[in-house]
């Protein structure tokens, strides 16, 4: 991933300065890594690799105005690279047929709200439903609805245009609602720590 930074904005960041910049974001980096990988050791390894990679490019950090989405972008791309190297498809680009129409997916009828909410309150069911979605839908939901990044930030992180993400998000929500309404209550098989 290339980052172009004007030369005059480069600043020297020593080891201590680097730690001060990074430390407030480490937990959030881990959290996103865990959401993507669903495994603590792998998530910790991913963060470790990204932080070492960032240390070698630390001058760039001082020039970044809003650090967190930029850090998440580096982490996300590292995750995608690693998954691809292992032969897994992680679609950064939208698949064929995906449009930028933000109203896509809105037409999906909402299931009965009370039933849906009940299913969502069962975290293992919700997690299992989320895990069952196509990766492109799972990721946009993780970034936007679970981790709370705005669409602009998700655009920075993934490199996809905001319009495309809006459309993708609507489709992903509709897909998740559909899965949830079709699932038996407490159908989640994997438990995660509270």
């Amino acid at each position: 991933m290339a980052t172009i930074i004007p030369w005059k904005r480069r600043a020297r960041v020593d080891e201590e300065g680097f730690e001060q910049l990074l430390r407030p974001h480490l937990q959030a980096m881990y959290r996103l890594a865990w959401r993507l990988l669903r495994n603590r050791e792998d998530a910790e390894d991913l963060v470790q690799e990204v932080v070492l990679q960032l240390y070698r490019r630390r001058e760039e950090l001082a020039a970044v105005e809003v650090l967190r989405p930029w850090l998440m972008r580096v982490l996300y791309h590292r995750f995608v690279d690693e998954q691809r190297r292992r032969g897994r498809q992680v679609p950064l680009a939208e698949p064929d047929g995906e449009t930028d129409d933000p109203l896509d997916g809105v037409a999906h009828p909402d299931p009965e709200p009370g039933q849906l909410l009940q299913r969502m309150q069962d975290v293992s069911t919700l997690q299992a439903a989320l895990d069952g979605l196509p990766e492109i839908h799972r990721q946009v939901l993780l970034l936007h609805d679970v981790e709370g990044y705005t669409l602009k930030e998700v655009s920075v992180i993934t490199g996809a245009p905001v319009g495309t993400l809006k459309s993708r998000l609507n489709r992903a929500r509709a897909a998740l609602k559909k899965v949830l309404t079709e699932m038996e209550p407490s159908a989640g098989l994997r438990r995660v720590a509270e």
């Binding site: 990074l22 430390r23 910790e44 932080v51 070492l52 720590a193």
Partner: protein, 223 residues
Amino acid sequence: MTDCKTIRQRFDDYQSHSLSRPDLDDLEAHLNDCAACREALDAHRAWRVAMAGLPFEPPSPGFEERVLGAVRREAKGRGHRRAFFAGVGVALAASLAVAVVLLRFVPSGGDGSEAMRVAEVMLPEHGQLRLRIQADRPVQDASLSLELPPGLELAGYEGQRRLQWRSDLAAGTNYLSLPLRLRNPQGGELVARVRVGDRTRVIRVRVRPRMTGAELGWPAVVV
């Protein structure tokens, strides 16, 4: 009045306070008059709360310190390298040299990559080289191999150019001590490989003869 679809499409921006003033006024006016959209907004909020409340497995104790500790080790290594090159040989004089291989092991399988580092040390005719191997977690059955050039021998294994060990690695720092014998004035370059699964770390150590004394020091190098 703006239609319900458009209004509902703005709920995310409304919740993140990123609607423009005219759109905000428009949305609030619509909500005042539309019970269905008020209900949809409540459902939207409940959705976001449920999604944001999904638990995650916290990192292991000491996670932040481990991550930043790796950065400190990296920084220290680079500092040593700078000192080495600035020292123009004087700093190299020592009988005990330490070359460092930093390793990261991914337990779920490697990528077949072979990362290489280069170090340079000066040793007397009978000197000891220590390889420092950093492992983030215990590693079972690591393979350690050594290739020696002509003129450089491992004490007790004279005449052997290739040697191999298998060993477990503890989490943290592991040392492999190599008592070396320099048999020619040019020294030579040895190659050490540490292999775990299909992941390999390689360090090439250029060993040059030191002519006098037997001082102890830390002349070596992480590259």
